[in-house]
Symmetry: C2
């Protein structure tokens, strides 16, 4: 069994490769919900959606989020009603939010809603939210504390970051199945997502981090930082704002209490010794996922690296 820990676009790209070489029924994915938001009373789970749409083969490949070929007629109309339109919800995508909210309002959990959405879209991978409790990633900036989507999408990640808080995380329980999956898998893969904003909220759920430290699984991570810059997103601004170096080494530091193997890009090969000095095994390979072939290749490398000790 393989358990993945995932944020949004970067993680989904990696998972797209992974499902090409590992049977879906052997895979579980624990997804960040720190970015979840309510808009028009609809519960939106951006990272869950990106992961599910990607695994369902319906993701908009160019953007990495949303549904391929989606239209935005409903959002345009909501704009006429004076509604918020900065968060780009397509018409098909909207159906997911409506359905999820409907399930939640009937008293079901986010895990249950997620399972139903996966079943409807033919996704056989066990996709789980990190928690059914509300955890909110708040970005502290020079203009005050902002919700994550507010910071990233509405304000275009333009504000200077001074800190990040995961509101509610200390009292959040892992969703049903999360700890079991971490403990019963033989391999855990931390996908190449923003270590602070995407993986951070998952690790901030106390029993998730505890399970990662205690599991017998071999834990591998893929660096989202290549050559001192993030592959996408504002990871650099965030890391700098927290006084961290923007490097694969700094990411390794964040994970060192549980990490066994770290995959870094060829360009960062000179960091190998310093990361190994943290007690972490290092694999150097091409980590840029431009084509499906790149994704499959990286997944293959990760699977083999994670298996090595057991094999």
């Amino acid at each position: 069994m393989i358990c993945c820990i995932a944020g949004g676009v970067g993680a989904a790209r990696f998972l797209e490769g992974l499902v090409c070489i590992a049977p879906a029924r052997n895979l579980s994915v624990i997804v960040n919900t720190g970015d979840d938001m309510e808009l028009y009373d609809l519960h939106i789970s951006p990272d869950l959606d990106i992961v599910i749409y990607t695994l369902a083969g319906i993701v908009d490949d160019l953007k990495g989020w949303g549904i391929r070929g989606d239209t935005f007629h409903s959002l345009d109309m909501l704009g006429r009603y004076g509604g918020e339109t900065w968060f780009k919800i397509g018409d098909k995508d909207l159906a997911t939010h409506i359905y999820r909210s409907y399930i939640l309002r009937q008293g079901f959990t986010l895990s249950e809603a997620t399972a139903r959405i996966c079943r409807s879209l033919g996704v056989e991978v066990n996709v789980m939210p990190m928690s059914d409790d509300r955890v909110e990633t708040m970005v502290n900036t020079e203009v005050g504390q902002l919700g994550f989507q507010d910071y990233l999408v509405k304000r275009g990640a333009g504000d200077k970051v001074t800190g990040v808080t995961f509101r509610g995380s200390e009292y959040a329980h892992p969703a049903l199945g999360v700890v079991e999956s971490l403990c019963n898998s033989d391999r855990v893969i931390v996908c190449p997502s923003n270590p602070i904003l995407s993986i951070g909220p998952i690790l901030a759920v106390p029993r998730v981090r505890m399970a990662l430290r205690e599991t017998d699984a071999r834990i591998l991570a893929i660096s989202p930082i290549v050559g001192g810059a993030p592959v996408k997103g504002p990871t650099d601004k965030i890391m700098r704002g927290l006084g961290l170096e923007v490097s694969a080494l700094a990411v390794a530091e964040l994970y060192k209490d549980f990490l066994d193997v770290f995959i870094i890009d060829q360009i960062d090969r000179e960091l190998r010794d310093r990361i190994e000095a943290l007690g972490i095994e290092v694999i150097v390979t091409n980590t840029l996922m431009k084509s499906l072939r790149d994704k499959v290749q990286l997944a293959r490398t990760a699977l083999e690296a994670a298996q090595e000790e057991n094999g």
Copy 2:
């Protein structure tokens, strides 16, 4: 001031003509909400939407409901989630339901939501729901009691009707402004809508019927039955199910406690004497609204007929 009492498509067609000849600020419309329904936790007000979209000039003219050129991508996706798709909600139309539900959940009334929707779409006519309380039109059939949309849309009006109930009507209060509008207008026009299913729920709100009986306004209705058949919809099946004759005369009987003037189609001219015997003045004209010109012509006839006594 002119106050109209309206159901869905037939009423909207008449109103389309009326706003061409009467200033919007002099018009108020009391709309049936007996057909309102919840779908995916969204509050849908079919008749309000038809009237508002028509007055906003965005209605799908061919169907008479929905928004012109709308797509159905969201509904298709809801279908993938196993959701109900028999009620055809377009993507833009969906935005109205999302926005309305959002306003209602914030604690505002349906009247307030309606006013905001009208303002956003540039509708200056004062459109009001008949009541902010829930009234549900239930159709008793040989297969049991059905919700109105269930009977009409989902099951295609195919079940034999044995009765109609307006659940909640006896305790429903007219929405703010409704009674005032009925009492302070000099003309009240009952639009050519289904007298049982569309106008019926409005009249079933006790203080609405009371206000109609008490107002000094001249009250005029346009027959939705032409030549013994409804212009559209299942009015005939409903009337027959209730043991009523399907005729303009039977409609006049339903309204006789408050009606001053009844406009019937030329084809029904031989009913004139029998309707006049009920103490109702009769105008015979062409009531079929095929073109905008027909609509304007009928509105002109109605306005003049309603004015006659005062003028």
